[in-house]
Symmetry: C2
Subunit: 210 residues, 2 copies
Amino acid sequence: MNSVKNLPEKTIERLSQYRRVLLDCLRQGKYNIYSHELASLLHINPVQVRRDIMLIGHNGTLRKGYDVKRLSDMIGTIIDSKEGQKVAVVGVGNLGRAIMTYFQGKRTKLVIAAAFDTDPAKVNRVIAGIRCYAASEMEEVIRKEGITIGVITVPPDKAAESAEKLVMAGIRGILNYTPVALNVEPHAYLEEYDMVTSLEKVAFFVKNRS
Amino acid sequence: MNSVKNLPEKTIERLSQYRRVLLDCLRQGKYNIYSHELASLLHINPVQVRRDIMLIGHNGTLRKGYDVKRLSDMIGTIIDSKEGQKVAVVGVGNLGRAIMTYFQGKRTKLVIAAAFDTDPAKVNRVIAGIRCYAASEMEEVIRKEGITIGVITVPPDKAAESAEKLVMAGIRGILNYTPVALNVEPHAYLEEYDMVTSLEKVAFFVKNRS
DNA sequence: ATAACATTGTTATTTTTGTAACAAAAAGAA
DNA sequence: TTCTTTTTGTTACAAAAATAACAATGTTAT
């Protein structure tokens, strides 16, 4: 079977990036775009762009490139859920707030619906447009709101506990920003990102450049 | 040639993660670790762990695993620079502060030495232990301090300008957290990370799970 | 002492990802 | 019209990454 479910992981990442660029284009009144333009905006190869677009079953127009609106809609049908998905941010520290602020009114299909923290100064307040609940209410709120994705931005020592609570609440996907490897399989899809690793990687390549 | 410079990119990322786990082990008084333990802590395959460790020319002891201290030191010789490297954070918003706080006193070989912002309320103050300078002083401070790496955490519309300034100041590596693809080649090594893409990826896999 | 086991180190194989090559066809030039 | 150029769509190839297979060998059990 060659359906959308089998798209390569890297292609999914790039689709998200293509759409970001495409939405910028629309804002600027640009209605067509060539594969090589998309490619150079993202520092990748034009062939890869065409290949990705082929894989999702879209097609462009010879010598006119891709219709920006149509392509971005098409990407939407691939990566968005029809009814949208709700996201919870667990941990309203600097990083949590960064994400909440960043998403404010950005996507309609991926909405941050709740934040959780243990700090009484934050609980029951609205931060960056998002209601902050007590961590103890997590299961209840997640179920009631139908939240499917959790973003963990708590301090490292609270990470495992937060993940466990999310899983208990029936969460389906977790994006973990703490440097603690979580164990949530097979209940939830897990994506981990560690800023230190990224920075150390940059440092390594800086050091080893001729 | 099969030197350290030719290590696969993914291996570099994993080395950073191995070290993180190894340092945790040391703190907990665990002095030996098996490849399968390291692997399960990072959700990867034990063979990959052994292979990575082989590639850096380290070796363990049969049936005793790897010496935690020796291995973590060895990883240090690969990914750290002997004299260390200094990092600047450009943009002291929520995300910038998250990174500054996070690094406070963590690594000795990778030190955040300065932050930059345009907000007068932040300039010339010390935030999370780091001196915040005016953006206009960027070139001067970076050269004077010998800063080699820049982390960009400004709002999207300031991203290109910030990158340009960093390059002008002779920066060698950039970690870009804004959703704007920068063009800094061939002056600096560039690593980009977009939180929206990560979240959309999680959303996609949540949606497409059986 | 011998057998069974556990674990590393390494080579071989498979899978995934990226790139090159090129046919097809529309647009413009001669 | 016919030729050249440009750009897509697709297949073929190459590179990178991950996994499997297995030899080597020390350890424990019998």
